[in-house]
């Protein structure tokens, strides 16, 4: 008897959901026509009731789903936070936005990944940023690596400083020149290499000699002690006449849980 009651409760429950599902779909038809801003909630309701609907109502639900989906306002994902990270990217200055808009699609895609890495680093998520960097290197090679490094180190600012404004499509050839030679006038120092100062000095001297610009750019991400070690090392190079530069400008900023040091050595 109890079992029969439970069975009939289950059937009633299913029936109620079905009626509710149909009425939701009916209201969606009206709502969608009068208020197209309800796209996500409309899709969610269709997904919730779809399986309960009889075949003729499924067709109607599918028709509404297609209309809502074709508005191109929703991303469906098993990791929405990951796709959202890329879809919601913006640049924090107008020049960078103009530069981005002037580049070909593939460079724009690399640019977006560099910006994503930059934001992850700011949040202290260096591991996630490194994961993207590995993918960038694998997919786009040294050129891709150079573009994302220009963004994560903020060296892109030096490039923008040199540009004629306003930035137009003609920027592409200058950008290409910078990107292709970027790794020849910059050095990314790893804190783990600071115990080999001569090795770092040799690298700095090598890029200074081969460089087509009047400056070289040095970057490091680590603890404040790592930053001061590198600054001291570069000062020492001038004192010991190992590197004859006119001036150098160290710039230390917060970078997630680390400090980022950027040095421009001018000759």
């Amino acid at each position: 008897m109890i079992k029969d009651n439970q069975e009939s409760e289950k059937i009633d429950n299913k029936q109620n959901k079905l009626i509710l599902g149909i009425s939701v779909i009916q209201s969606l038809v009206t709502k969608f026509i009068s208020d197209p801003t309800q796209i996500l909630s409309g899709i969610k309701q269709i997904l919730f009731f779809y399986r309960l609907l009889p075949p003729e109502w499924k067709k109607k639900a599918f028709w509404i789903f297609e209309k809502l989906w074709n508005k191109k306002k929703v991303v469906i994902s098993t990791e929405p936070e990951r796709s959202e990270r890329v879809y919601n990217l913006t640049f924090d200055n107008d020049d960078l936005t103009q530069l981005y808009n002037s580049l070909p699609e593939i460079d724009q895609a690399i640019f977006l990944q560099g910006r994503e890495m930059q934001l992850l680093i700011q949040k202290g998520l260096h591991g996630d940023s490194d994961e993207i960097k590995q993918q960038v290197e694998k997919r786009y090679g040294q050129r891709g690596l150079n573009i994302v490094n220009m963004l994560t180190t903020n060296d892109i600012e030096y490039f923008i400083e040199e540009l004629k404004k306003p930035i137009t499509k003609e920027v592409e050839s200058v950008f290409n020149e910078w990107v292709n030679k970027y790794d020849s006038f910059t050095l990314l120092v790893s804190p783990t290499n600071l115990d080999k100062p001569q090795e770092i000095k040799n690298k700095i001297i090598a890029i200074a000699k081969n460089n087509f610009r009047k400056y070289v750019l040095i970057n490091l991400s680590g603890k404040i002690g790592d930053c001061t070690s590198l600054i001291n090392l570069i000062s020492e190079m001038k004192e010991k006449k190992e590197l004859n530069y006119s001036q150098f400008n160290p710039d230390i900023k917060e970078s997630g849980f680390c400090k980022s040091l950027r040095i421009k050595i001018e000759f």
Partner: protein, 76 residues
Amino acid sequence: MEFLQVNPSNKRVILELFSKVMDKEGFILEKKSGKRIVCPYSKKEIHSDSFSILPGSSTFVNNISYCFAEHITTHH
């Protein structure tokens, strides 16, 4: 842009609405042909535990940053 989470309770309906099904190993197949679908960017098969459907052309992709970035820049 708004973002919808795929979870175990809505996954099959989502796939059905896009004419897709899953095979025994959890890879996504075209319902009609029964063939595993391939991400147009990574060129890899797509597992139902880790995928996104991007607007514009209902593109199924792997959850890798370059797949999102390249789709955005080619469909803006």
